[in-house]
Assembly symmetry: C2
Homo-oligomer: 303 residues x 2
């Protein structure tokens, strides 16, 4: 198996299938593609959707990029090598209706080469996580259940570890440890070793990627036509503010990408379309809004 080619093909097929599935669900808006090239090597396909019936803003981006290992990378990624290669898919979908959760997914492979071009390191990373504005337990159970089923197929050890890594990672430490949402799975620096060879990790990523639509669309379907009040939309925009805070203050990928001359518009497509920042906004005691915050502060075992 040509690992690199297999991975690149998988990422582009995944982009096509996810875009097609989301367009079908939306029923109105279509993705618009921006192809871009990177001076240092490689490029990407940024696909954005906006002003849909269901999806207010979203992006499903892929990139295949490579270059020299720079000082910044050595420092911040703690890597050693001469050349690097990365290929991945990154998506964020912000629905209009506050009862439909925002979703994020990212699957990527990274390779390092020595001065002769030989591969000296290779790892996979990725995950899918959900950010609801109102919490429906059945949605959380369906979402986490889908991911657990998929991970269990590869190894039942994985889901509990990846769930915890996800809860730990997507944390607004400056907001008393409040999580961005209800999590999902997240993993990084997964290397081929023993029975967990390259084929194992590619299969896991493929299974996770292919579970994106079945994990998300039933939730969208159930909630997209639910009536909402201006106050509920207001709450969604306040919570979107927390999404912005996480992405710009804490997300390693975003900060690293912007510091290393990544394509700004593709990186920041993750930011929500309309956002509010109020001073010291407090939901009412005992409200649905307050319950969401409680769950974000104390992640729950859904399965």
């Amino acid at each position: 198996m040509d690992i690199k080619q297999t991975w690149v093909n998988f990422i582009h097929e995944l982009q096509d299938s996810i875009c097609a599935g989301l367009e079908r669900q939306d029923g109105m808006a279509q993705f618009v593609e921006d192809r871009w090239e990177r001076d240092e090597g490689g490029g990407g396909k940024t696909r954005v959707i906006a002003h849909g019936k269901v999806f207010e803003k979203g992006g499903v981006n892929t990139s295949v990029v490579f270059g020299q290992v720079t000082e910044t990378m050595r420092d911040q990624l703690k890597i050693d090598g001469h050349q690097w290669f990365a290929c991945g898919l990154s998506l964020v979908i912000h629905p209009y209706n506050p009862f439909v959760p925002t979703i994020h997914a990212n699957y990527r492979m990274f390779e390092l080469y020595d001065q002769y071009g030989a591969t000296v390191d290779r790892w996979w990373g990725g995950g899918t996580d959900l950010t609801p504005y109102y919490l429906f337990d059945e949605d959380a159970i369906h979402f986490h259940g889908t991911l657990k089923t998929v991970c269990d197929r590869s190894d039942p050890e994985l889901y509990p570890i990846y769930k915890k890594t996800c809860d730990d990672y997507f944390t607004n430490t400056h907001r008393n440890g409040e999580r961005r949402g209800i999590g999902g799975i997240f993993f990084d620096h997964q290397r081929a070793e023993g029975v967990r060879d390259a084929a194992f990790w590619i299969k896991l990523a493929r299974d996770c990627g292919d579970s994106f639509l079945p994990g998300y669309l039933p939730i969208v379907e159930r909630r997209k036509s639910k009536n909402f009040t201006p106050a509920q939309k207001y709450w969604q925009e306040i919570r979107r503010g927390r999404y912005v805070e996480f992405n710009l203050l804490h997300d390693r990928g975003t900060i690293f990408g912007l510091k290393t001359n990544g394509r700004t518009e593709s990186i920041l497509m993750s930011l929500p379309p309309t956002v509010r920042f109020d001073y010291a906004f407090q939901p009412e005691a005992g409200s649905d809004e307050e319950r969401l915050i409680e769950i974000c502060r104390n992640p729950k075992k859904w399965i």
Copy 2:
């Protein structure tokens, strides 16, 4: 002169006079005060205004805080000492009308003590800068002119240096070096030395602080009743997105405050009330919106 007490009194008087002047200008909304204490030592008075006739959101905050020098401070501020003390005022005002610019100002004094409590270092920092959404040359000239007059009174060398420091500091490096706005003045680490003794720096900060209302209110007065279209409001919200990006990605004070357990709500009162993030938003060629971006990319000498 008791330097510390003189400075603390000045900061609180400045907070009172600025709040009173902004309330008079708004004619409807009033500042609401939140007093807070810090476990590690000291506290602050956060004063916020919201949903005014002119001001959509704003804060004029003071704090008097002190504590042990921590590892994080040693690393990030590159300081040496046992105990520290800081007192300052920080304000951000976001008007509703897109023709009225956003303004930010900050004046602060920092002291370091050795293990016996003796003062081993002391410095001042501060500045005032303007972020218009539409550029009126006469406003920019009035704003910069006010600051230059004030700085010249202390030393004609200062304004050109502080203007450049301001342009350099408030830069969205990830947006091709676009500045947050049209600048103003910014200075940091100003220490008593020779004729520029403590009295010199306190007088400069006082003059700058006292020039806040005469530098800003005439601009507000001229623009606050100007009719605007939904498209102009939309543009303001897009530009407010850049304000968020600067504050969360680049502003040293914001990032340091949030990492060192500062009071999150007081720090993030700087974020605009309503914000939009569109993918690759482009103003029309030759438009007023495009001209603003050009000036933000290539800061102008206004005086």
